[in-house]
Amino acid sequence: MSAVLTSEPRQTAGTGRLQARHVELSYVTGKQTTLALDGVSFEVADKEFAVIVGPSGCGKSSLLYLAAGLIDVTGGEIVVGGKPVDGPGLDRGMVFQAYTLFPWLTVAENIEFGPRRRGVPAKERREIVAHYLSEVGLVAFAQHYPKQLSGGMKQRVAIARALANDPQILLMDEPFGALDSQTRSVMQKLLLRVWEHTHKTVLFVTHDIDEAVLLGDRVHVMTARPGRMKETIDVPIPRPRSLEMVMDPEFIAIKRRILHLLQDEIDEDH
C-alpha cells in the first residue's frame, strides 16, 4: 500500500468520534480502475471499541489507512472529531500488522519517538515512556533493541508507541495477525486491560471472528470486494471481558451470526 501524503500532520483537539460517509476508494493500475471501497458509511462513537471484519481483500485495511490519513479517499469523507481527515494527525494513532518499530532505537526510544518529534521536554518524555512501558509490561526491556524482542513484545511496544502521543483514536490493522495463537490470546487480554485504563476510541481490523467479538462493542461486517458495509452487530457482552467468555452461549450466538454473514461473502466469491 503506497501512502500518498498531501500534508504535514496536524494536531486536533476534540472527541474521538469517527464518521465514515459514503467512503469510496479506487485504484488505477495501468488502464484498469479497481473499486476497493464502495460507499462505506459507519460511525464509531467516542470511547467505543469498534471492530471491522470482512473477507480478505475487502478493503478493511484500506479503510484504516484512509482514517489515518495515509491515503486519500476518492469519494466521500471520513470525519474525526468533527473535522474531515486530511493527512495524518496526532489525534489518530496507528498500530500496523507488520513490525514497524525503528530497529536502531531501543524500546524506550521507540516509545519516545512521537513525543520527541512533538517537542515534549525530556523530563516529561521520561514520564510518558515509564508510564506506557509499565502499561504494556515491558519495564525490564526498556533498553532492549527490537530485534531482541519476540513478535508479541514488538507489538506491545508498537501499542505503547502509538499511545505515547495520547491520540483520541487508536487505529489497529490486524495487529496480532502475525502472532501464534497463544501469544495472540495474551495480547488480546493485554489490549482489553490497556483499553479499560485509557478508554480510547479504537477502530480494530481483523479477520478473526473470536477476536472481533471478544474485543468489540460493535462489529462491522464488510462484503467482499468491492468493500461495502454489510451489517453492524452490537456485542452486548458485559465488561470487563475475559478469554473464558468465548465459551458463553451469548458469545457463540453472536459469533455464529457473524460467521454466517461472512460465509455468504466467501461462498459468493468462490
Partner: protein
C-alpha cells in the same frame, strides 16, 4: 508387582530436545553435515592450513627448481625484498602515492554519492531524472575512459583520482538508492502517524534506517576502488604500487611484483576492517 508399578510411574530420564547434536559423533560425520558448526580451533587450523599449503606449493615450485625464479620468486626473496625496501625507505613514497589517490578519489565520490543516492531513494522525481543516465554510465567500462582522462587531465594525480571517482561514484549512488528504497513503506507510515513531518522522516527515519546499508555500500565499493587504482597506475603514473609493479616487470623483478600485490592486499584488509568497525560503531543494532 508393586516394584513394577513404581518403575512404570517413575518419570522417564529427561533429555533436552536436540539429542542428535549432543551425541558424540565422529569428526568426519560432523564435517560432512551441511551447516553443522565447527569449533573455533578447528576453524583456525583449517584457515591456517590452506595458507600453509599455498606456501608449501610455492616453496616446492621455487626451491625445488620447477619454476625459474625470473617467473616465480622464492618466498624468501619476496621477504628479503620487502625488508630491504622498508629499510632504504623507498617503499613509503609509493604506498603514500597510492593511498593518497584512493583516499581522495573515494572521499570525493562518497561525499557526493551518499546524499545524492539518499535523494534518489527518497524522491521519485529525483530518481526518475537521474536513474536513466546513471544506469547508462554505470555499465561503461572505466578503462575505456583512461585515454580520455589522460587527454583531458594529463598524467598527474588528478587523472588517477578521476578514474577512481568515475569507477565508484555511479555504482555508489545506485546502491545507496536501493538501500533507501528498501526501507519498509509501513515504517514511514508509522512515522507519519506518530507526528513526524516529511523532513523528520528523511532525517530521523530514512537516514538511520539506511545507515547499515550505506556503510556496507562504502565497504564494497572501497574494494572496487583498489582495482581502479591499480588500473590507473599501470597506465599512467610515476609512483604508486601499480607503477612499481609495471617498472618491476620491465626489469624482470618478479619479487617486487609479488611484494606490491601483497601490500595492496594488506592495505585492502586494513580499509575493510575500518569499515567493519564503522558499522559496528554506527549501526551496531543491525549486526
Amino acid at each position: 508387582m508393586s516394584s513394577v508399578v513404581t518403575e512404570a510411574a517413575a518419570p522417564p530420564p529427561l533429555r533436552d530436545a536436540p539429542v542428535a547434536t549432543r551425541r558424540r559423533r565422529s569428526f568426519a560425520s560432523r564435517a560432512l553435515t551441511p551447516r553443522a558448526p565447527v569449533s573455533r580451533t578447528v576453524a583456525l587450523i583449517a584457515g591456517v592450513s590452506v595458507w600453509l599449503v599455498v606456501l608449501l606449493v610455492w616453496s616446492i615450485l621455487t626451491y625445488g627448481g620447477v619454476m625459474p625464479d625470473i617467473f616465480l620468486p622464492t618466498p624468501s626473496a619476496v621477504v628479503m625484498r620487502t625488508i630491504s625496501v622498508i629499510q632504504d625507505g623507498s617503499i613509503w613514497p609509493n604506498i603514500w602515492a597510492s593511498v593518497q589517490v584512493i583516499l581522495l578519489g573515494f572521499f570525493i565520490s562518497s561525499i557526493v554519492a551518499v546524499p545524492l543516492g539518499m535523494l534518489m531513494g527518497t524522491f521519485r522525481l529525483v530518481q526518475s531524472a537521474l536513474e536513466p543516465i546513471v544506469n547508462f554510465i554505470r555499465y561503461l567500462p572505466v578503462t575505456a575512459f583512461v585515454p580520455l582522462f589522460i587527454l583531458w587531465i594529463g598524467l598527474g594525480l588528478s587523472q588517477r583520482v578521476a578514474i577512481i571517482i568515475f569507477g565508484t561514484f555511479f555504482q555508489q549512488i545506485v546502491m545507496i538508492m536501493d538501500v533507501v528504497r528498501t526501507v519498509p513503506e509501513d515504517m514511514l507510515n508509522a512515522s507519519y502517524t506518530l507526528g513526524a513531518s516529511r523532513k523528520d522522516v528523511l532525517l530521523h527515519v530514512l537516514l538511520p534506517a539506511a545507515r547499515p546499508g550505506i556503510i556496507d555500500t562504502l565497504r564494497i565499493t572501497m574494494g572496487w576502488a583498489w582495482t581502479y587504482l591499480v588500473v590507473a597506475e599501470l597506465v599512467a603514473a610515476s609512483s604508486g604500487l601499480g607503477y612499481m609493479s609495471m617498472q618491476a616487470m620491465r626489469g624482470f623483478e618478479v619479487d617486487v611484483i609479488f611484494m606490491a600485490i601483497g601490500i595492496i592486499g594488506l592495505l585492502g584488509l586494513i580499509t575493510d576492517s575500518f569499515f567493519r568497525l564503522l558499522r559496528l560503531r554506527f549501526a551496531g543494532w543491525a549486526q
